[in-house]
């Protein structure tokens, strides 16, 4: 197993990454805007020089600041796909796809044959003789995928490839990416802020916040038990940070106690996780003892599936506001509106306590 190993930092962008990826795996890098996701890709592609660290792709060290190794971008075997398709506007579609084979020294006709094969693989053969200016966003991105794959890269980097597409074009492209990445076992890193992308194509997820990987693991693990605020928000799970103050009790920095399930040592930094569906909303605090009662000021009300999602204001530490899913009928009965203070009630059995991430605290 060679895969991809990244351990590198660049102070100018405030990033410090530590990531591993095995051959044939697809890693989705999730995170808020400006977290440093694109910087990670530029460092791996060799388009940004790090201050320190080591990057290995497919068993070859491409960057090592200690030995002064820096393989130039064209020799890394790392192809990149960005938000915009960036097809060379002065070349036809087929010449765009034939570009990498030509750079590798293939003859004109051999490169054309390779290009035709890849255009077929992305269902774009009929576009071969068009100019990039004549393509729609979805078509351009298909051609860009063919162009990147025609380079036979050891690692494929995808920087939010779906974000510039309209909603009708994105699902088809996502299916195509899934086919290409999963069935052919390609090693790839896809930067996205869309959970659907991660679910559709990735084996592993890394959550990047403030230039650090705060969470890293199999998709299912990260999304069912998120440790970072960002992962919790995209997974639609409520997360309350704190420290263990007693058996099955976590105390938040602002002094609230939350009871839950999970054997953790006292004093350990921990988080409480619970689903919005497990929350009941009351106008007055109930007096049932085994329940957690949290006063929440409503920030917004949204349709969520067939019910209503009640989203509270940000938590006192700035964390994402808690959410509760209730039926439309009870929302109407309670006469909820933004600004109103209500009580979120959740049974202790519904709350999971987990150790917090060291990086997130």
């Amino acid at each position: 197993m060679s895969g991809v190993r990244v351990q590198t930092g660049l102070d100018q962008r405030g990033v410090e990454f530590d990531l591993n990826l095995d051959d044939g795996e697809v890693l989705a890098v999730l995170g808020p805007n400006g977290a440093g996701k694109s910087t990670l890709l530029l460092l791996i592609a060799g388009l940004l020089r790090p201050d320190r660290g080591r990057i290995e792709v497919g068993g070859t060290v491409v960057t090592d600041t200690r030995t002064g190794t820096s393989v130039p971008p064209h020799a890394r075997g790392v192809a990149m796909l960005s938000q915009q398709a960036m097809l060379f506007p002065h070349l036809s579609v087929i010449a765009n796809v034939a570009y990498a084979p030509r750079c590798q020294g293939q003859s004109r006709s051999a490169a054309r044959t390779i290009a035709q094969r890849w255009l077929e693989a992305v269902d774009a053969s009929h576009l071969a003789d068009r100019r990039p200016g004549q393509l729609s966003g979805g078509q351009s991105q298909r051609v860009a995928i063919a162009r990147a794959l025609a380079a036979e890269p050891r690692l494929l980097l995808l920087d939010e490839p779906m974000s510039a597409l309209d909603v009708t074009a994105a699902p088809a492209l996502r299916r195509l990416l899934r086919k290409i990445l999963r069935t052919e076992r390609r090693t790839a890193i896809i930067v996205t802020h869309d959970l659907i992308d991660a679910l559709a194509v990735a084996d592993k997820v890394a959550v990047v916040e403030n230039g650090r990987v705060v969470e890293h693991g199999p998709v299912r693990g990260v999304l069912s038990a998120p440790r970072s605020g960002f992962a919790a928000r995209i997974a639609g799970i409520n997360l309350i940070p704190g420290a263990i103050s007693g058996p099955g009790v976590i105390r938040t920095p602002w002094g609230a106690d939350i009871s839950g399930i999970g054997a953790l040592d006292p004093g350990v930094a921990a988080i409480a996780l619970f689903r919005p569906g497990a929350v009941a909303v009351h106008l007055d605090p109930p007096h049932a003892s085994p329940r957690n009662v949290i006063a929440v000021t409503i920030a917004e009300l949204d349709m969520h599936g067939i019910g209503v999602r009640v989203r509270g204001a940000d938590q006192p530490d700035g964390g994402t506001g808690l959410a509760a899913d209730i039926t439309a009928a009870s929302a109407a009965d309670l006469d909820l509106e933004p600004g109103k203070t209500v009580y979120f009630v959740v049974k202790a059995q519904e709350v999971e306590l987990h150790p917090a991430l060291s990086a997130a605290t």
């Binding site: 130039p72 971008p73 064209h74 990149m80 506007p89 750079c103």
Partner: protein, 270 residues
């Protein structure tokens, strides 16, 4: 009463009506002298005036030297523009300002500076003399003088094109396996070709009109260094009609260049 209704379009809110008065005055200021020349021309003699021996010699020399200096500008100006647009080293901004100095320098001063560089008594003159090369007051000097004043035009035009093209396509090409020289040849230059062409056209036009630096550095020898602008200036003393006829020739060439570069700008991708 009905007012006439103009065709639909954007309503300009930042364009008060009085602005048309000074704008029109400016346009007249440029167009009136051109009209004056047209009215002054002795059309009956026109052909014979511009085909006199000295006129033809000046014309041929001008075309030859302006073409040569345009080639020089492209050969050294394109690399300069690339370094200025893409390079990254301390002092780049200062270097950029210095390199573009000929743009604002009076051409006579440029000519004197060239004389003290390549002239017999100049900075490099002695070494060149030893090698048997004498540049001052030769056709080479004309080309050097023209290149000196025209180079910044090409550099600025191409650098602007390079900056607006950005380096996104270069990055993609590199990750597809293209070496730096391949990136330059297959992606960067084709994308800024319109900028390069309009820069070369500007440099050619500037070279064709060069007067001050040429006169100072190269002198005015018929067939060797007396280009069209020098010929016009000389003829003005003895044969004003010939000077006017030759001036019209330069105006026509300039107009053709402006029209050609404007249509390029409209059709080109950048």
């Amino acid at each position: 009463m009905r007012k006439t209704w103009r065709t639909g379009g954007i309503v300009e809110v930042g364009l008060p009506s009085w602005i048309y008065v000074p704008a029109l005055a400016g346009a007249l200021f440029i167009l009136a002298p051109l009209l004056a020349i047209l009215l002054k021309i002795d059309w009956a003699q026109f052909i014979s005036l511009i085909t006199s021996e000295s006129s033809l010699a000046a014309m041929a020399l001008s075309l030859k030297t302006a073409t040569a200096s345009t080639v020089v500008c492209v050969l050294v100006g394109a690399p300069m523009a690339l370094v200025l647009a893409r390079g990254n080293f301390p002092g780049l901004r200062a270097l950029r300002a210095l390199v573009l100095l000929p743009l604002v320098l009076p051409p006579v001063v440029g000519g004197i500076a060239l004389l003290y560089t390549f002239g017999r008594q100049g900075l490099l003159g002695h070494q060149l003399d030893v090698l048997g090369i004498q540049i001052a007051f030769s056709t080479t000097a004309v080309v050097l003088a023209q290149s000196f004043v025209s180079l910044p035009f090409l550099v600025i035009s191409l650098e602007g094109a390079l900056r607006s093209a950005g380096s996104g396509y270069d990055h993609i090409a590199a990750t597809l396996g293209a070496r730096p020289t391949t990136v330059l040849r297959t992606v960067t230059l084709p994308l800024v070709l319109p900028g390069l062409i309009s820069g070369a056209v500007l440099a050619f036009a500037r070279s064709l009109g060069e007067f001050g630096a040429t006169l100072t550095f190269a002198g005015s020898l018929q067939g060797v260094t007396r280009t069209l602008p020098l010929e016009i200036y000389l003829q003005r003393e003895t044969d004003a009609d010939a000077a006017v006829a030759l001036s019209l020739l330069l105006i026509v060439v300039a107009a053709l260049i402006v029209i050609a570069s404007a249509s390029r700008r409209l059709t080109g991708p950048l």
